[in-house]
């Protein structure tokens, strides 16, 4: 996907001014946050499960090399054709190569965020292939010609009315006005494509090392149809999705669906271990898995490696006060919200996503809800440090911080300057005791807020007076 993260501020501003997006975001926030909070209380040892989940993910990351080899051995034994891709380009080339070899014309796709990373649909279309998204949200987004704004609810920024208009236009049928009918219509439209597609593409939520399986978590059933009906299937997934055992998966799933949608379990959990075997009623004749790096080993070797624990539930964005107000598109790449503010600079280059690690209040609501305990604010802070080290911050900010630190390290100078500031501030604040307009960086503050004025003297001055009076 094209990276537009450096237009974050402008894009966010547009979203804040868009009443439709605002309405959709409010609605989604209410639903997802409440659903999660209701479902986690079903687990009486939620915190212990989080601890265990973080350990499982860390174990997978620490022993990734061994586990991936074990996975590959098991997968190959089951008949899976395993490919390794270092770059997004290699992923697309591999998929196109497989499609060409099998003379594929039509492809159905189940949701894959990695496919968004590599801009897979675009590459497939450019290669003359017909690609259909089958996840309802992804289908809607594809029809709009947009990109997902959320990792599990791609069309969360759209209202039902937007979708009703879209379907009426694209499907050439009378406009419907309830969600159930719209969903039925999408199913009807999609059904023939499932039946005559030559190839299916899916992602994978996890790779199970002990069985050599790929695994997907879905609600709509499209994922299972995509992985079983077409004659060729290609699953693409990142190297970090490796998990040692099925037992581990069962623990992670208890957290994943609850954190994502507030469900105790999703409608479908599909494990794929190799192609169709003799006697199997369905399944692809050929099953390919592409294991992708695309920046992940670099993250693994860095100070922000905990970000690779992510199991893509979306809870961090659902609970982020910034995401809740601007939605996902402003973040400018595949992954929005807190996790996106870390993964985007890590995968596309820190200089191409300058705003993201800074566009957070560090309130740590994300860290609190993350099912695998990724210390998201700490990682954002690490990236802020890297920006400073690489001289990527604007000079007035650097200078301002330096001056602040220099002054604060010299109490006499500091006392003098703050004393002056307290007096000027009080004078400017007048009877209302409010500053309506601040200069320089402060103007961002006063564009939307007043600034309560200081009281004329600093604590240190008043305390010195208080003390000298006390000791007289």
């Amino acid at each position: 996907m094209q990276v537009t993260s450096n237009q974050f501020k402008h894009a966010a501003s547009l979203k804040l001014a868009d009443p439709k997006v605002q309405k959709a975001l409010r609605n989604a926030k209410g639903k997802l946050v409440v659903a999660r909070s209701r479902s986690i209380v079903e687990l009486d040892n939620f915190e212990e499960i989080r601890e265990a989940a973080a350990r499982i993910r860390d174990f997978g990351l620490q022993h990734m090399d061994v586990l991936l080899e074990e996975w590959e051995k098991k997968a190959a034994a089951a008949g899976t054709i395993v490919h390794w891709a270092e770059t997004p380009q290699q992923v697309n080339d591999l998929v196109i190569g497989i499609a060409r070899k099998h003379e594929v014309r039509k492809i159905i796709k189940s949701k894959s965020m990695l496919g968004e990373e590599t801009n897979l649909n675009h590459a497939l279309e450019a290669a003359g292939l017909d690609v259909r998204e089958t996840d309802l949200g992804e289908y809607i987004i594809q029809q709009f010609g947009e990109t997902p704004s959320h990792i599990i609810a791609p069309a969360v920024h759209k209202s039902m009315d937007d979708i009703a208009d879209l379907f009426a236009e694209k499907h050439g049928r009378p406009r419907l006005d309830d969600i159930a009918s719209l969903t039925h219509e999408a199913r009807e439209i999609l059904r023939p494509h499932f039946l005559d597609a030559d190839m299916g593409i899916s992602g994978a939520n996890f790779l199970v090392a002990e069985t050599g399986s790929t695994m997907i978590v879905t609600n709509e059933g499209n994922g299972r149809m995509t992985t079983t009906m077409p004659r060729v299937h290609v699953a693409i997934t990142g190297i970090e999705k490796i998990v040692p055992t099925l037992e581990d998966i069962s623990l992670l799933l208890r957290l994943l669906t609850r954190s994502a949608t507030g469900q105790s379990i999703s409608n479908y959990l599909s494990f794929t271990t190799g192609p169709k075997r003799p006697g199997d009623k369905d399944g692809p004749g050929e099953f390919h898995v592409i294991i992708v790096d695309a920046g992940r080993t670099k993250v693994l070797a860095s100070e922000i490696r905990e970000a690779l624990r992510c199991i893509r539930c979306g809870a961090c964005m659902n609970h982020c006060p910034v995401y809740q107000n601007i939605g996902g598109h402003a973040y400018g790449w595949v992954y929005p919200g807190p996790i996106g503010s870390i993964l985007t600079p890590a995968y596309v280059g820190i200089e191409n996503a300058i705003d993201l690690p800074n566009a957070s209040t560090l309130c740590n609501q994300c860290g609190v809800v993350c099912p695998v305990k990724i210390p998201l604010p700490d990682l954002m802070r690490k990236l802020r440090e890297e920006q400073v080290q690489k001289n990527l911050r604007p000079w007035p900010e650097r200078l301002g911080l330096r001056l602040w630190a220099w002054t604060a390290a010299r109490p006499a100078v500091y006392g003098l300057l703050t004393g002056i500031a307290a007096r000027i501030g009080k004078w400017l604040g007048g009877r209302e005791r409010l500053l309506h307009k601040l200069p320089a960086a402060g103007s961002e503050w006063t564009s939307g807020r007043d600034f309560p004025a200081p009281r004329g003297k600093t604590f240190r001055e008043l305390y010195a007076q208080h003390r000298s009076r006390g000791t007289q």
Partner: protein
């Protein structure tokens, strides 16, 4: 027992009454309170902006100034959180300081947490006729576990009743430099807080962190709410809810 009061840079510059209120509460709880004169800032602005070096200079300065105290009490969850939760990481490059850093981190308390869990006070000097709604500031809540302490203390204030807002734990949108780097987003987040405060229909918004305080009050006034008072929990507990008058009284001699 000697308590070092770290008033914080924002209280020093913006609202000294909070410092005096904290002093009054600690002294009336029976502690010997020292206020190191050279104290300035804990280093949080630099730390959260990626200027680790600047933050380290100020963190070391804090360590020196408060070294002799049995406790360090801070009328701010975020500055307290900086010391307790972040100094160990910030100063990890200096292994010779580890012991000192760990010790200061352990001794540092947010004011209400200290009053409830260390001083175990059972009455407070303040009185307040009216209702208040309490905003949980993010660092206080999520780094210092400050949640029940301010409410327990406020419930001891004569004449005061608490009216909870719907989402007291929701961030107010301040975020330090976030508020000046992304003013528009920040103000929008603050709007939701202002609406929540309004829906609680309290006479005053009470909180424990000056950053949130300046932010929410600033947005409230801009939105035209000149009625809801915005007070620091220390001011309410100490009965110093008219910061200007109380200060004049303090300093008039």
């Amino acid at each position: 027992m000697k308590v070092g009061l770290f008033v914080t840079c924002l209280v020093d510059l913006m609202r000294p009454s909070i410092g005096f209120a904290s002093l009054k509460l600690l002294e009336s709880a029976g502690y010997e309170v020292v206020v190191p004169a050279a104290q300035t800032c804990c280093g949080q602005p630099g730390y959260n902006s990626g200027d680790r070096n600047a933050a380290q200079i100020l963190a070391k300065k804090m360590l020196r100034e408060f070294a002799g105290c049995d406790y360090i009490v801070v009328p701010s969850g975020s500055c307290g959180g900086m010391i307790r939760a972040h100094y160990p990481e910030l100063l990890a490059e200096f292994p010779e300081m580890t012991q000192e850093v760990d010790s200061i981190a352990r001794k540092t308390y947010e004011l209400t947490d200290f009053l409830v869990n260390v001083a175990r006070i059972d009455s407070v000097p303040g009185q307040f006729s009216g209702s208040v709604t309490y905003h949980d500031s993010c660092s206080g809540l999520r780094e210092m576990n400050v949640k029940t302490q301010p409410r327990a203390l406020l419930s001891k204030v004569a004449g005061l009743n608490i009216r909870e807002m719907q989402q007291p734990e929701q961030c107010c949108g301040f975020g330090g430099t976030f508020a000046v780097k992304y003013g528009e987003i920040s103000a929008r987040i603050t709007d939701l807080k202002c609406e929540d405060v309004q829906s609680a229909q309290a006479d005053a918004l009470v909180l424990g962190d000056l950053g949130c305080m300046l932010n929410i009050e600033g947005r409230m006034r801009r939105r035209g709410d000149n009625k809801t008072r915005v007070l620091h929990v220390a001011e309410v507990l100490a009965g110093m809810t008219d910061p200007v008058q109380d200060l004049d009284r303090r300093t008039a001699g």
